[in-house]
């Protein structure tokens, strides 16, 4: 059973909608019922009659409802399902079947809006790593972003940056079907480290499903420069994990002092970016390399790093 409601529709349109819902039940795969109150699964939003339809739609999507735009216009700059006025049974059935199809494919909604805990977002990383989610919409407050992981690009609207949006406690994540237009096509911004960033920011303190905390991880590629600028610890973690034999999480903690939760975030990001693999055993011989001069003290390295973060004199 799925529930349907509306926002901004005229009394006449509401009456027509109720009648059509009753009529079309036999033509849709699932049972639909019209709901006057509460949070329904699907909300038809009359974008012509509302003063700020965007806010209304954002609120619906923030609680992982499905918003359907209802308008006189036959074009839209978004990827949302839409119905052109006037209401017709055929259009309604077509849109509702699309909703059911998307829900069946697990495309909408993915997460609920209960906060950024491990359980809320860790599963999305599993879907991404399995290749089952390459296109995401992440929404929070006034901001929305479509993330195209296969092409390492994103399109964002609103006041939040991509990094802020990905860690927002109120975020809602929706996976999208790749073949559907996303509505942000003109605004795509390339980001070489997008997979890495998504893996890091959506980590909830746990490794992606098929990784194990006791494993030895070996980094094959350092992160792109844009990520290294966003995540200062990335350089240290990359250096340790790119040793010949890689390193376990415990070894990285011991060597760097970086908390294991940050190391797990980095490993998840590297895993999504296909930059890391598992090593069975330690075969590290670098420490035994002959003729290596004693490295300068750690204090010197820290001083150089500190100097680099300061503005030029």
């Amino acid at each position: 059973m799925k529930t349907l409601s509306c926002k901004g529709l005229t009394d006449k349109d509401q009456l027509v909608l109720r009648s059509l819902v009753d009529l079309m039940i036999s033509r849709t795969s699932d049972d639909w019922t019209y709901s006057e109150e509460g949070e329904s699964d699907v909300v038809i939003v009359d974008t012509d009659n509302l003063s700020d339809p965007r806010n209304v739609i954002d609120e619906i999507e923030a609680r992982n409802g499905v918003a359907i735009e209802y308008s006189n216009s036959n074009t839209s700059d978004t990827s949302r399902l839409r119905i052109q006025k006037p209401l017709r049974a055929a259009n309604l059935i077509s849109v509702f079947n699309s909703v059911e199809s998307r829900l069946t494919r697990g495309e909408i909604p993915y997460t609920n809006n209960t906060g950024n805990t491990a359980g809320d977002t860790a599963g999305i990383l599993d879907l991404i790593s399995a290749g089952k989610a390459t296109l995401l919409r992440v929404s929070s407050r006034d901001s929305s972003c479509v993330i195209d992981l296969s092409s390492c690009r994103y399109s964002i609207r609103g006041s939040l940056s991509l990094a802020e949006l990905l860690v927002s406690p109120e975020k809602a994540i929706t996976t999208l079907a790749p073949e559907e237009p996303q509505g942000h096509e003109d605004d795509w911004q390339p980001m070489p480290s997008l997979q890495w960033l998504v893996g890091m920011k959506l980590s909830g303190g746990e490794l992606i499903g098929n990784l194990h905390a006791g494993s030895r991880f070996k980094l094959h590629h350092w992160p792109p420069a844009d990520l290294a600028k966003l995540e200062p610890q990335a350089m240290t973690l990359s250096a340790i994990l790119s040793r010949k034999s890689g390193a376990t999480i415990d070894e990285v903690v011991a060597k760097s002092g970086i908390p294991d939760s940050d190391i797990i975030r980095f490993i998840n990001g590297a895993y999504l970016a296909k930059a890391i693999s598992i090593r069975a055993v330690s075969t590290d011989t670098e420490d035994d390399t002959p003729n290596r001069p004693e490295p300068p003290s750690k204090g010197l390295f820290d001083m150089i790093r500190n100097r680099l973060t300061r503005k030029p004199r």
Partner: protein, 176 residues
């Protein structure tokens, strides 16, 4: 206390002088002369001995940055400049005909120094139409089972030069 010295190398025009200008807190010392060979179509002047810049640490110690001449005919200078160096930055210019071959050549020529110390690779002008992907540069390193940092950088930006040095310092501190 031995000299703290970082070396920047790479083909002519890759941005070695520009990198030192971007990060040095003093005007860099340059040993440029007018180009008279094929390189004259690319740049008016080229480094013949070295470029030199410096950064002062809070302890008062100085980190010296040495840029090598890019042209192979000055390679005798390469061995001289790396003596006592802490680590190496190789700049690779994607507007040149074969940047991967360039990288191989510098890795080979500085292999002894790299083995003793560490290296980071800065890839410049990656927006060139035929620029190789970063993964192609990494594949070039895989044969020796080592992973060096390879970063896409705009060498005119101080932040990007700082990132290369930071990566090199992290490699020196943790990759051994």
């Amino acid at each position: 206390m031995p000299e703290i010295k970082l070396i920047i190398t790479g083909p002519p025009g890759a941005g070695k002088t520009t990198a030192i200008e971007a990060i040095s807190e003093t005007p860099p010392v340059r040993t440029d002369t007018r180009t008279t060979d094929d390189l004259s179509s690319v740049k008016d002047e080229t480094t013949v001995a070295m470029d030199f810049g410096e950064i002062t640490l809070e302890s008062g110690e100085k980190v010296f940055l040495y840029g090598t001449p890019g042209q192979r005919r000055f390679e005798f200078m390469w061995k001289i400049l790396v003596e006592g160096g802490l680590g190496l930055i190789i700049l690779v210019d994607c507007s040149r005909p074969d940047p991967i071959d360039d990288l191989k050549m510098y890795l080979e020529n500085f292999s002894d120094f790299i083995e003793r110390t560490g290296v980071v690779v800065g890839i410049t002008r990656t927006s060139e139409p035929d620029a190789p992907e970063l993964t192609e540069f990494y594949e070039c390193l895989e044969s020796n089972d080592r992973v060096f940092p390879i970063l896409d950088v705009d060498i005119r930006e101080r932040e990007d030069v700082a990132l290369l040095i930071n990566a090199l310092v992290s490699t020196l501190e943790f990759s051994r």
